[in-house]
Symmetry: C2
Subunit: 354 residues, 2 copies
């Protein structure tokens, strides 16, 4: 056969094809794309024109080999099934996209090993990593952070920059809210022991409770799931609590169910406040009074500061960046005692802008 038919050798055009067609050296084409300033305006224009005609697209893999710039970021999630992370991913992905980066998703499937393997596989191809949640130990994280710029979310790891939400402020709002409703004692239903946020929330509660002259108890730990909340409800009887603050919304949902199953009414008999304000928080009945975290902003902020670190900026590892929280009041809280449920119109569930 003489010549392969033009449509046969369907290889995408390379920088050399463009160079030949434009009558310049390959390096010039490269420059025209990466450092347009360093090349004659006309020449650059011609090259761009030719490239467009040929349908040339720079091959990111080939670019990455000599430079290490892969334009990819890893995002590690311990359980992608948890609705909590949807908004975070969205924020991360949009910030990444704005900067021309792409997100490599690492779902740990709640398994230590899966996470290690996946992250290890992803690490060499990414420029940096965001740990939105991780099963890894602090030391393992620090180890990884030595290989690639990293930023952790909702956790504090020494020597690694982080983004957290203002748990203390949120907790103060929650406690104040309960105090205003006449509650004098509050029980914290805690989440995973290993969770940094859990420890933080409990400490914040003690502090806030002291300030508001409430008594604080603690129960748990429980898995941060609906099922975990149901379990917690059974054991909650011992505390005879009229007000509880739950580690997160899922736990609170389980709690509501569990309590109702044993004949206690929410909010009439016990008021519940939780954390996060996930999508479902306003869907359940009663709607959850909850400390809302700026989920999307968390993802966005994390990626942005990671990118700036990649750009050479110094990101402080000392104190984390803290994002604001606010209290969203819905139907799960009511005045202490024979408090009537708040009228539907004040429930807020249909109105809350989230």
């Amino acid at each position: 056969m003489a010549e392969p038919s033009p449509s046969a050798g369907r290889r995408p055009p390379t920088i050399y094809d463009v160079a030949r067609a434009a009558g310049v050296a390959a390096s010039t084409v490269s420059r025209a794309f990466s450092r347009p300033g360093r090349v004659n305006a006309e020449t650059a224009e011609r090259i761009r024109q030719v490239a467009a005609d040929l349908g040339y697209r720079t091959n990111p893999l080939a670019r990455a080999l000599p430079t290490g710039r892969t334009s990819m970021l890893a995002l590690v999630i311990s359980d992608i099934t948890n609705p909590f992370y949807g908004e975070i991913i969205r924020g991360a992905q949009s910030a990444a996209a704005e900067a021309g980066y792409v997100i490599l998703l690492v779902d740990a499937q709640e398994s230590d090993r899966v996470e290690r393997d996946a992250l290890e596989r992803a690490l060499p191809t990414v420029e940096g990593v965001v740990l939105a949640s991780s099963r890894m130990s602090d030391s393992a994280i620090r180890m990884t952070a030595k290989q690639r710029p990293m930023i952790v979310l909702n956790r504090h790891v020494a020597d690694v920059p982080s983004v957290v939400t203002d748990n203390l402020h949120g907790m103060r709002l929650a406690v104040q809210h309960l105090a205003d409703l006449g509650h004098r004692t509050v029980t914290y239903v805690s989440g995973p022991e290993a969770s940094w946020a859990d420890g933080m929330r409990w400490r914040s509660l003690r502090k806030a409770a002291a300030e508001s002259r409430l008594r604080a108890h603690r129960t748990g730990p429980y898995p941060p799931t609906v099922a975990g909340g149901s379990t917690a409800a059974e054991e909650l009887g011992h505390h005879g609590a009229s007000a509880v603050i739950a580690y997160n919304d899922q736990l609170a949902i389980g709690l509501v169910r569990g309590l109702q199953a044993t004949g206690r009414r929410v909010p009439q008999d016990v008021s519940i406040v939780s954390f996060d304000n996930i999508f479902a928080a306003e869907l359940v009945t009663p709607g959850l009074t909850t400390v809302a975290a700026p989920l999307r902003a968390q993802g966005h902020t994390a990626v942005c500061s990671l990118l700036s670190a990649l750009g050479g900026a110094q990101v402080s590892t000392g104190r984390p960046m803290v994002l604001p929280t606010r209290l969203v009041v819905r139907g799960s809280t009511a005045p202490r005692g024979r408090g009537r449920p708040r009228p539907a119109a004040l429930d807020g569930s249909a109105l809350d802008p989230r």
Copy 2:
């Protein structure tokens, strides 16, 4: 300076380092990893040993350049915020991980342009793509499918292999359930016009309704969101429907709220069946009777067949692979007329194993 300190040149070891240390040629090291059969067993063992000692890890980027094997798959989602996709992503990611692949997440952020850009950026670095949902036109999809093996989920595109759920069967179950409850007419509250699943569901409903001798109406389209459902509720009055089937769970949730807001009770006044069985379906009150899709299996199946296509297998583009559906009965459906709500114990919401 004479010699860089050993800890300074912290470059990861390359294949050459291993080759030198093992006293073999680089090509042999390469073979030892990729085609162990083609190398002396002892030599291979020694190489593996040396590699382990040095902490050698093959650089996936460098491997990808000559071979095109990047071990990455793109997963396109039009809206990662939609809880529907969480399980699908999990399934996809786990199937990918099993095969040593990594997932590049493309979130379209509900925007055509964002999707195009992101996918275009991701395409050259991935071996294949799974379209879990996409804002793109059929022709744009077919175009992309020419560049990389692709498989679409819940949609049918000519010449592109796909994985769908058994909408017809699910619809039959739904209609039969309503018929059993005494309903004689059913209204379909439709989702996005552009949605292949929506068209499919409506056609299935007509068919199933005919078989069960019910009359079928249709209203919409509405955005497949809670807000869309609320809107739909307002307009539903005109149909005076006692039974409706909603395009998806979110729409149904909005519907329930909207109806309740105008004084109609669910399920006493109107029964509602929806599709998908997302996490929130069992959380709302009443729990949603819904046609459950095997979400995780969808993601898993899609990735598996994509991988087999990459492996050279012929994947039929003719008829899609269809995954089974089942009906999960909860509190949103009840006998027609002054039907009392089903007692809580039969609600099923707390029991359903999902």
